[in-house]
Subunit: 347 residues, 2 copies
DNA sequence: CTGAAAGCGCTAACAT
DNA sequence: ATGTTAGCGCTTTCAG
């Protein structure tokens, strides 16, 4: 006897009818709630198996006013950090029976609030937002949505919103310290626009802190600013090449690994040896950092873990385990590799 | 007068009451359907603005029996190809007002069918599945779900399921031809397990085709097989190093760029110059392929476009514009760069 | 242990 | 132009 699965989707009433019981009894076996005589239960399960019946989640959602979905807004999912974070989110969420619905803002702030609106309408149980900046409209819509929110990548704690961030400043500070310890005093910077608080300001801030601590003044001529792409790194390198040819700076700090790799690639193309003629360091430790030629000295962030932690914080809130609206700061680790030359070798 | 947005979520009836009209009138202004006197409309919009009312998508979904959601199942989202494909999907889908809900199978076949089940329960309007293998249970659940499905990455047309794939065999064939044209006759292969039809079989098949066409026999000793990771590429290189030291093979074809880069990194570590001592080619053209040192010769696939095309095919079907259950084959392009040496320079 | 009935929040005939 | 009514598919008291 072949099953008649695959026919048009049927509902709980039809299943009840087939099994000769009421809908509430079917509902009880579906939810393992209440008592159902073993025999009746068997008959119902029989029918379910035969028909391939799957209860409508949307009806259940409506009834229970909970969807088990969490909205995730990401700018540009196709980047190493974002996709690792998303993987962490997805993995952690699925442990608790939640499923992510995705909004890709493609770095356009209006899209972020647009997606939050969509999520609100879909009645998600919570929202995770990977933000590059905290604009007023964004904050506004995070307040208006009446479900828990966790921000990733920007410090929203001042606005009473829990978040998880990296210690960008400290990380970049220590990386720059390493450069200085290796004998570099003239260090160029390949940065990004400062509307990105974490990458644009904090990372740059860490670099400046380190220089200031040893009384070095940063030369603005060695500071270039652009986008986040490989080619932006290359463009930055191009602009610094004339200086490098004249002997300073001796090292370049790129605020992301992508920029660092873009820059190294261009330097190598121009026959400038890294790290013999100029050292390069990045931030983030993307997967290829450790296999690039030369291997990139950088600072490692646990992006997957960041996503997972954010998801856990959200789950806690969705379960009414209230958490402090604090900034959870993720640890980092220096990864000293081959792209930075040691200018003062041990005697 | 401050708005009282943010209070507990209210429903259409409360909005109707506040505006002194019936729910259907509110519904009409919400959906721009039917006639509503301008004055009344204004009053309702007023109330909506004041209260920050957002209609419940789940109620609408239930009523309209359509959710505007499409389920996307991805193995391991944190890989270049997957995340590009996902970005393409997300972008294309949002053009048509659909929103992706994500299931990360983490390469476990059971998870794929598990997610399809979840999607079925959530009553998604369609499903996109990025498959690495077409197992019987998977095919079964794709048949049982009563909404359109498009498979990405595997040829499912034989099972009556539309899909979009790369021409893996032809691409690898032409890449190998290039190696041969460059004077390489002894070419090693860094492959993957053959349960992955496209990467494990087809790409290897293209390589074998090319060799066979010029009467070269592949030496099984130069064929290594492993996983998809950078370290698998390195492991492959390790196993081939002894042969390379003895002069053959002169070139290595890695079936993915990640493997190629992992291999190159290890070769360089072992002071084997690429491409002077051995050439390396990859497949896929991931972002860093063009900036690696040396720049990787590979074949370019348009992953973002692949995701977008699949999404379009799905949208067509969801709109009842039936499409043939064919395999849509995406174009590819050789990218000749610096990692392959030319053994027979022009005289 | 099981069934009847009342909604969850919305839409769409069908009236008026 | 607007209101009434009957569900969409499910869960959950409340009675038996």
């Amino acid at each position: 006897m072949k099953s008649d699965a695959g026919r048009q989707t049927l509902n709980i009433r039809q299943v009840a009818a087939r099994a000769g019981v009421s809908t509430s009894t079917v509902s009880r076996v579906l939810n393992q709630s209440g008592y159902v005589k073993a025999e009746v239960r068997a008959r119902i399960e029989q029918v379910i198996a035969e028909t391939g019946y799957v209860p409508s989640g949307v009806a259940t959602n409506l009834k229970k006013s909970s969807t088990q979905m969490v909205g995730v807004v990401i700018p540009r999912i196709n980047s190493f950090a974002s996709s690792e974070i998303t993987a962490g989110i997805s993995t952690a969420l699925s442990e608790f029976g939640y499923i992510p619905i995705l909004g890709s803002s493609t770095n356009i702030p209006e899209n972020e609030v647009r997606y939050i609106d969509i999520f609100k309408r879909q009645r998600v149980d919570g929202v995770l937002i990977l933000a590059t900046q905290l604009t007023e409209p964004l904050l506004e819509s995070m307040r208006e949505i009446s479900v828990p929110v966790v921000v990733i990548g920007q410090d929203a704690s001042a606005f009473g919103i829990p978040c998880v961030i990296q210690d960008e400043r400290q990380a970049t500070r220590q990386l720059t310290d390493h450069l200085i310890r290796s004998g570099h005093r003239r260090i160029g910077l390949i940065g990004v626009a400062d509307w990105d608080i974490q990458v644009g300001c904090e990372r740059k801030g860490g670099y400046l802190d380190a220089l200031a601590a040893v009384g070095i003044e940063a030369d603005p001529a060695w500071t270039v600013t652009g986008g986040f792409d490989l080619k932006d790194g290359a463009a930055g390198a191009d602009r610094l090449v004339p200086y490098i040819h004249s002997g300073v700076p001796t090292a370049l700090l790129a605020v992301t690994d992508r920029l660092a790799i873009g820059a190294m690639s261009r330097l190598i193309e121009r026959r400038i040896d890294v790290p013999q003629e100029v050292s390069v360091a990045g931030v983030g430790d993307i997967d290829v950092a450790s296999v690039y030629n030369p291997k990139l000295t950088t600072v490692h962030f646990d992006y997957f873990g960041t996503g997972a932690v954010a998801a856990h914080m959200l789950v806690a809130q969705m379960r009414e385990e209230p958490i402090a609206p604090e900034a959870r700061i993720m640890p980092f680790e220096l990864r000293i590799r081959d792209s930075v030359a040691n200018l003062k070798p041990r005697p």
